[in-house]
């Protein structure tokens, strides 16, 4: 019985209501944090940090953002890419206008801009839901995408029309721009993601999380127990877009180092939605699983067959990814609508009684 809660009596409601009530879970989290903060920086080469870990973390955060809206509140959004874009462009403008403020502060603040835009496009959720709302969020997606291209002020009139990330230092260490090392950027991304994940977990385990889930599960009943639907939905839009905005800003400033508007196109919205579906709607840990699977799958497809002497064209790898992801979406919705996170729980359940079958 490696994993068990038997015998761990909770002496108080507070202990029972902790996010990780079981000791083994807390140990697990500690181990993961140690690996993330100590082991990876020690062993990590540029490839691991820059190509795998940084994007994985950023996508996880975006997926958490969308999950708060779609998985927890039940509002389907196809505008994630654009909301991420708002964060990225806001961050660029902020650091251009106030270059001396720490860039990480601007990364976080740019999330607030994204929130504001998110709330604006969330207004129709007052009257519509389901796929009607999804179409409404498409308006956000395409309109914002158009703004990113047509308003040169947003990308500082750069000739290429792309965001060019300037050099920003923190206590003399380059944080963004070409001279920032992957390790610095990795640690920055990691810290932001850890803190924001902790905050998200606080939100969903408390009153607000319950309000969101009530709206998701049965909005009419939620209204009749005194939940103000409109406010609750708008709050979900605000918080969700904040997360997406921060993820977008990090994507450009701490990963790509520069980006065109295309990065925030509808494909990005879908990718993140798929992470949420495959990882598990309404679970935070699932957002990490989904991001790992969907982001790392194509990398694996490109690399692994090559190692076995079966070279695969990059284009074919990408197409294969589409086929697999598409099929996985359907398989998960059919077999396990709660996604990888549910499989994880079932796995833990098995461990809990291991080695006995019951």
């Amino acid at each position: 019985m490696l994993y068990r809660e038997v015998g761990q009596y909770k002496s108080s409601y507070a202990a029972d209501m902790a996010v990780f009530p079981i000791l083994q879970d807390r140990i697990g989290i500690a181990v993961i944090l140690v690996i993330a903060y100590v082991v990876f920086p020690l062993i990590g080469n540029d490839f691991l940090l820059n190509t795998i870990l940084i994007p994985f973390l950023i996508f996880s955060l975006a997926a958490i953002g969308l999950n708060l809206l779609t998985g927890y509140t039940g509002l389907l959004s196809l505008g994630t890419g654009a909301f991420m874009g708002v964060g990225a462009y806001a961050c660029l403008k902020l650091t251009t206008i106030f270059p001396h403020v720490n860039i990480l502060i601007w990364v976080l603040v740019s999330g607030l801009f994204s929130s504001a835009v998110g709330v604006l496009f969330g207004l129709p959720s007052l009257r519509i839901k389901g796929f009607y709302l999804a179409v409404a969020t498409l308006a956000a997606q395409f309109f914002l995408e158009w703004c990113f291209i047509r308003i040169p002020w947003l990308y500082n009139y750069s000739v290429s029309g792309a965001i060019e990330v300037p050099l920003r230092t923190f206590m003399g260490v380059p944080m963004t721009g070409p001279t920032a090392t992957s390790l610095t950027r990795y640690l920055a991304v990691l810290t932001i993601v850890v803190v924001l994940t902790w905050v998200a977990s606080n939100i969903v385990h408390g009153r607000i999380g319950r309000m969101w889930m009530s709206v998701r599960d049965m909005d009419l009943a939620a209204e009749l127990i005194g939940i103000r639907l409109f406010r609750t939905k708008l709050l979900a839009f605000a918080v969700s877009s904040f997360y997406c905005g921060v993820a977008g800003a990090m994507m450009v400033f701490l990963w790509y180092g520069g980006a065109e508007a295309e990065v925030f196109a509808i494909d990005q919205s879908f990718l993140i939605l798929f992470m949420v579906i495959i990882g598990g709607l309404g679970t935070l840990i699932g957002s990490f699983f989904g991001s790992a699977l969907i982001y790392i799958l194509p990398i694996g497809l490109r690399l692994i067959p090559g190692n076995f002497g079966v070279p695969i064209r990059p284009a074919a790898a990408e197409q294969l990814t589409f086929v697999i992801v598409g099929a996985l979406i359907i398989v998960f919705l059919v077999v396990e609508p709660n996604g990888l996170a549910r499989l994880w729980q079932i796995g833990k359940q098995k461990l809990r009684v291991w080695p006995f079958p019951y």
Binding site: N202, H205, D217, M218
Partner: protein
């Protein structure tokens, strides 16, 4: 037949009064000029054949439907119609004919959700889930645990309600309504689809709620035995009109009622 409630003196004061309420959906007239009142502390039954407009009446009372005409007086305040939020705020809670639980949430979370209106810690404390926010959670958890004990559902505390059997779901729904600590509790067929034992349990809960907490209850129920046992007064609807109103005994003897309702079902 119930003994007259001990707080008889408090009876007589109307907690809620509906006057001349009419409601229609397109061509369908769900309610036509219905007037009745619910007095403080009583158990008021609403009965009638299928489609009589009982559920619609409750929906008007807690603001889910806006009647075309008529008015509602609640706690002395007159209004043309309620808003659901205002109704909840004012102390009206409700269970539903076809279960309206939050199926993806646990029993505990469902009942805790019922306490939303009583929780006040702001957004920023929620982000930290620390200090006042955590204390508030714990305090309300304690209240919720009392309800869970009262309804004898401790064993299913952490089970997703969507996976519970029907009878237990009905109980959880009652628990969620009780968590609101309402002044007026609306129960829409709380015993539909239950076996005898479950019905007895539910009847006991209803009487206990009424007597221990003095909660006023409006109850829709098809089982005449239950209605006769539980209720202080009964209002009878048929085709959206009120056809009788009085004590269970009076109503039972009413000719219109026998023709419209009892005669039809028995």
């Amino acid at each position: 037949m119930r003994e007259p409630a001990a707080n008889e003196t408090a009876l007589g004061e109307a907690l809620l009064a509906a006057e001349d309420v009419s409601l229609s959906f397109g061509g369908v007239r769900a309610l036509t000029g219905v007037s009745f009142d619910i007095r403080k502390g009583e158990i008021r039954a609403i009965i009638g054949p299928n489609g009589a407009g009982k559920t619609s009446m409750l929906n008007v009372v807690n603001g889910f439907y806006q009647p075309q005409s008529g008015r509602i007086t609640f706690k002395g305040e007159v209004r043309k119609s309620m808003r659901p939020y205002a109704a909840a705020r004012g102390g009206i809670a409700r269970t539903f004919q076809n279960l309206a639980l939050f199926r993806g949430m646990t029993t505990l979370d469902n009942i805790l959700a019922g306490r939303t209106l009583k929780m006040h810690r702001g957004f920023f404390w929620q982000l930290l889930r620390y200090g006042p926010a955590l204390r508030e959670e714990v305090e309300h958890r304690r209240r919720v645990e009392e309800i869970i004990d009262f309804l004898e559902i401790a064993a299913i505390r952490k089970v997703q309600v969507g996976r519970l059997p029907y009878g237990l779901q009905k109980r959880v729904e009652l628990g969620r309504a009780l968590a609101m600590e309402p002044d007026l509790l609306l129960l829409d067929e709380p015993m539909a689809g239950m076996n005898l034992e479950e019905k007895e349990d539910m009847s006991r809960f209803i009487i206990d709620v009424n007597q221990q907490y003095g909660t006023t209850i409006a109850l829709i129920e098809h089982d005449m035995g239950v209605v006769m046992d539980l209720s202080d007064r009964v209002v009878v609807l048929d085709y959206g009109r009120k056809i009788a109103d009085g004590t269970p005994d009076e109503v039972k003897r009413d000719k219109d009622v026998i023709r419209a309702y009892l005669g039809e079902t028995h």
